[in-house]
């Protein structure tokens, strides 16, 4: 069913103030890059059959990854992309809801443990950790 209400709020406006927050970390995004991030969020949601009405999660991920010691301006954008996919993969697979910021923090810790590499192994570990946590 394709009703208007299920189409994403495809505005990058709410990401506008992001660059100001990132100045301390020497990162900045162009308008094109911001809309790319938004597109990746949409495609990650489609891949994992999720619906997100806000771009808040992109902001959370970028701010978290800006603290990473493994990234520079060149690799930062693609890392954000991979992390967005990682986030929605975990969201889909968890049974009980964890707060968004809590989940991002948990994924970030696993990312550090994996030496800053976002790959299949990290994804499997992350999904497992979310599921295991639910069984506790």
């Amino acid at each position: 069913m394709k009703t208007r209400s299920l189409v994403f709020i495809n505005k990058t406006k709410d990401l506008g103030c992001l660059n100001k927050q990132l100045t301390g970390y020497h990162y900045a995004f162009s308008k094109k890059e911001l809309s790319l991030l938004k597109e990746w969020q949409t495609s990650a949601c489609q891949k994992y059959q999720m619906f997100d009405f806000s771009s808040e999660i992109i902001k959370l991920i970028i701010l978290k990854l800006s603290m990473s010691p493994y990234l520079n301006q060149a690799s930062f954008l693609m890392a954000c992309k991979d992390f967005i996919y990682l986030f929605y993969a975990c969201r889909k697979n968890e049974v009980k809801l964890i707060y968004d910021d809590e989940l991002v923090e948990r994924l970030y810790q696993l990312y550090l443990q994996n030496n800053g590499v976002i790959d299949k192994t990290l994804m499997q570990k992350a999904i497992k950790s979310v599921k295991r946590n639910n069984n506790d």
């Binding site: 069913m1 009703t3 208007r4 209400s5 299920l6 709020i9 949601c45 059959q49 999720m50 619906f51 997100d52 009405f53 806000s54 808040e56 999660i57 929605y88 969201r91 889909k92 809801l97 964890i98 707060y99 968004d100 989940l103």
Partner: protein
Amino acid sequence: MTEKTNRSNALALNSSYDITQILIRIIYQYNHKRSTSIAIADAKQFVKSINYVIAHNQLTEQSNNVEMLYQDGLANLESEYDRLQTAFIKMKNDIINFNNIKYLDIMTTQFTAFFATYDLTYKAHICAYDLDYPLIDGMPLDYNMYDLNGLDLVGEYFKRLSMEHQFIRLFSKETITDFLKTYQQQKLIPVECLGLNLCEIIVIQYMFYLLIHNGYGLCINKQEYSKIIKKIKDYQTIDNVLKQCQLLLKKQLPDENVYRYILKVLPFFKAQFNVAYQNNTFDQLIIVKKDITPIKLAFKDNEMLSNNDFINLIQQLDATPSIESRAALIKHTKLSMIDLIDLLNELFWTDDEYLVFFNSLDLMTIAILTYTLFKNELYFTKLSNIQTLFDSIDYDWEKALIRSINNLDADNLTKLNLIIEQFGSFC
């Protein structure tokens, strides 16, 4: 209803119609503000639910304020829900004594569960129950659930069911019970069986009844049956008979809506009537009460059947197809009480066959059997509570005997009690 559905479609397609804010609020309510994301399947459900609620607004002015439309729809659905629930409780308290699996499921499980679980916020458009007790014109499924869903579907089904109740309640409880008993005996279909609509079988019988009677009754005996057949022939054509039946039915039904609803049976009735008329098989269509003379067994006191005679009797019984002929065979063979009990122990009849057999016995035979079997138990248990012994007995025929005693009316039960008490005082 159709108006509402059209309005719902129009709203869903309208490009100026934006339910995002309501959707966001509902998502936050659903996940306790833990996340901005949710499974797309859930989101789609919410959108359908919101559209359904908005379609139920009754605001007369054209309003573009979606929140207002939503709140008004919500209030209307809530009041409709309350109205239906109250009406259902009233109907449930006046449930018809119709021991049909699907009817009882609707009345005791499906409606109750629907009212307990109906969710206006997340799933207002969903009715998770089959509503599978067929109505006079078939099941909702045959009509694509009337193109309705959620509370509308339940409301429509309930409206139809309550009209059927209203019609059935025109007849006394005894009339219905008596009719069902005769129906089972003639058609050899237990009313427990699936796919039977009570209203349908009653209205067909009632139309024949009205050809020779006034008032609300269903019992037709052999003489009345002949009169009905004569009357049908007098009308000459099938259409004349059907018209007459309709006229008579209209006179008897006070409520115009109920009358119109009951007429839904006409196509089905006409088809059955055609077949009966052409083949002269009205005895299949009209339920005729037989004059049953109870079978009185002639017991011998001391003499038992020889082994060979006993085996012969069992073989003969196995070869006899109908339960009535088997009962007659037992009647004509002179048995002692021990023979009868041995025989019942040896037979492999179904519960219903045993029941028909015991129903055809006279009270004295039932009393002798009951006293022989439950002599000791009856010191402590009243005959009216004999069902309490049900779990402690092994043989199916003994259980059937208890069921047949339970089915006795108050008069016969008192008589049976008296006979058994007299046996007690002799011993």
